[in-house]
């Protein structure tokens, strides 16, 4: 899967080069969500045809919930320490906020 990292790096370089082509970038960003739809559809197809997964969906769902719960818990407990030690409720960062445009 090193290919994945190489391709992403190429993409970043390509994105930096094509930065001024606003319309093209806009189109690319719009296609992202459709690529994700297609991939997740195919993943669903694979999973639906896998009897072992289909018979154990309850366990799989529970494991998913447990893992996300502890991952969040670990992150926020540690972030509480970092917040108390280094951020102390005040910080002087810039406030430039914009709506997200990437897709998960």
């Amino acid at each position: 899967m090193v290919e994945v990292l190489v391709i992403m790096t190429l993409g970043i370089a390509l994105g930096a080069l094509l930065r001024t082509r606003k319309q093209l970038i806009k189109t690319v960003n719009k296609t992202t969500i459709w690529i994700i739809f297609i991939l997740l559809f195919f993943m669903g197809v694979t999973v639906g045809g896998n009897a072992e997964i289909m018979n154990n969906l309850d366990t799989i769902g529970l494991r998913g919930l447990q893992l996300s719960f502890v991952a969040i818990l670990g992150s926020v407990i540690l972030s509480w320490v970092v917040y108390k030690l280094f951020f102390n409720g005040n910080d002087s960062s810039v406030n430039t906020i914009k709506e997200g445009k990437h897709e998960r």
Partner: protein, 200 residues
């Protein structure tokens, strides 16, 4: 949020169609998803590379802000590693790979499916979708219990887009920049760390 639901819907439709044998043989070809994954990685890269504002934030970062994504990495991987000792059916490596999704469910689930198997890929999908949903639901409670940085770290990679509006609402606008920085760093780290963990 709307997009997350749509994504899950596409997964469920695919799942149901194949479960009831309504999919033509052609669609079952495994290579298709590998190539589509490559296209996705290229597009994600282009999107990050062309995003001047976010990259500016990335390079202007001070040492304090770097602690935020680091917190997410250590907190998520550490906690999921600990959980794997309690669960008899999930190994250390598997639990950490799921934790390394940092909420980026589309990419992590596909990568894990390709590299390790469909069962763990499905757990990664559910787990990381749930991470986003829990963050959206409990962001105000997290600020109350763990301070203003908590929603940013709970959000993981999604802090730069899908959970950004709720973060700035509950923690304040000044946390927007921290959220974008942390989300961007984690987005880039997901494929690196997942690949690394599963290579063992």
């Amino acid at each position: 949020m709307k997009d997350s639901l749509l994504i899950v819907m596409f997964f469920v439709i695919g799942l149901l169609l194949s479960f009831f044998n309504l999919i033509p043989e052609l669609f079952l070809h495994k290579d298709i998803s590998t190539y589509v994954l490559y296209i996705l990685m290229l597009v994600v890269g282009i999107s990050v590379g062309s995003d001047k504002e976010s990259l500016k934030i990335l390079f202007k970062a001070n040492w304090k802000i770097i602690l935020v994504p680091l917190t997410v990495v250590i907190g998520s991987l550490g906690a999921t590693a600990l959980l794997s000792f309690v669960l008899h059916d999930v190994s250390l490596k598997e639990a950490m790979a799921v934790g390394a999704g940092f909420g980026y469910y589309s990419l992590s689930s596909i990568l894990i499916t390709e590299m390790h198997g469909e069962t763990l890929g499905t757990i990664a999908l559910l787990s990381n979708v749930i991470r986003e949903i829990l963050t959206l639901m409990f962001a105000p409670a997290l600020v109350f219990a763990f301070g203003k940085l908590a929603p940013v770290t709970a959000a993981g990679a999604t802090a730069m887009d899908t959970t950004l509006p709720i973060i700035t609402r509950v923690s304040g606008n000044q946390y927007g920049v921290i959220a974008i920085f942390s989300g961007l760093v984690l987005t880039l780290l997901v494929p690196v760390i997942v690949t690394f963990i599963l290579s063992f």
